[in-house]
Symmetry: C2
Subunit: 184 residues, 2 copies
């Protein structure tokens, strides 16, 4: 019986594949075990529990998103950067719907996710720094931006907008609403 050569990272890889295939509810230890070719209890050698696996998966998701958004805003500033940030987020959600559904909304509260969460937050703050925003104003602006992006994409993802008619148009107007709320 050859050894599978698993590792925490490999388990997370498999979990991510399972997540992509069937969504957050499908992310079960049985599914991950089948995919790694290992018996269910063997997973406990690499991961403390299903809860911890979810946290580790969440950390990876935040890392990915942070990297992608960082790349998207590179070389841009102000309204262009905001638009790029918002469009890149929506593109990510449409490309990986199940991943966004499993994305932790409070990565800073979980030690294993805090570093990635910090990087993601940095992207937002860097974009807003281009407007000369600092301190409380920057915090408020970040919250507006995040609320708009997360609100729209999560509603779209859940099918909360009825028919997918004119959604691009709606999003363009949402972007305009956000940029209009930022200093000239």
């Amino acid at each position: 019986m050859p050894r599978a050569g698993l590792s925490p990272a490999a388990v997370v890889d498999a979990a991510l594949a399972v997540l992509d295939g069937g969504g957050p509810d499908a992310l079960t230890l049985a599914a991950v075990a089948k995919r790694t070719g290992v018996a269910v209890p063997s997973l406990y050698k690499h991961v403390r529990s299903l809860g911890e696996l979810r946290v580790l998966v969440g950390a990876r998701l935040v890392e990915d998103l942070a990297e992608r958004l960082g790349a998207a805003v590179m070389g841009l500033s102000r309204d262009d950067a905001v638009a790029a940030l918002m469009r890149a987020t929506r593109a990510y959600v449409r490309e990986h719907p199940h991943r966004y559904a499993a994305m932790p909304l409070d990565p800073l509260h979980e030690p294993a996710q805090a570093e990635a969460g910090q990087r993601l937050m940095e992207v937002f703050l860097a974009v807003l720094r281009g407007y000369g925003l600092h301190g409380a104003d920057a915090v408020h602006a970040t919250r507006r931006l995040r609320a708009a992006v997360h609100g729209f994409t999560s509603l779209e993802l859940a099918g909360g907008f009825g028919l997918p008619e004119d959604l691009d148009d709606s999003y363009q107007r949402l972007i305009a609403m956000v940029t209009a709320s930022l200093p000239a």
Copy 2:
């Protein structure tokens, strides 16, 4: 052995109490059965499955929210109505966090929730009608409004905003951002 005198509505009542007490994950048939003083399989006499129970609970949640928001905007128009709508939603989320976490985002797609969903959507549309918005413009504005409200409240609910510092202030600015995007 006296009969419990259950009914679908009574089961939903109990489910709502369970939801309030422990959140969406605590909404289990075992918990509902315990609360109604009945054995688990007996619930199937009133509800087809846990899935259906969730749908019915969701319908009640949307009804409640629609009623509340309708009352909140009564007698108000334009920016005042938008502000009231947004504030009332946030107040609901803070008052019943577990209920909002279980709130269906696409009530129109589920027959049992469609009627309540329609009523809720009507409140949004009625408020925007005060701006003279019709057709596509009204649709886009509704989406902006919903995105802002849902985005902020769900992020706040999940603890995604770090410390609860100046959240009222942030929300006020979010309201201003939305109203500024509507016709003068």
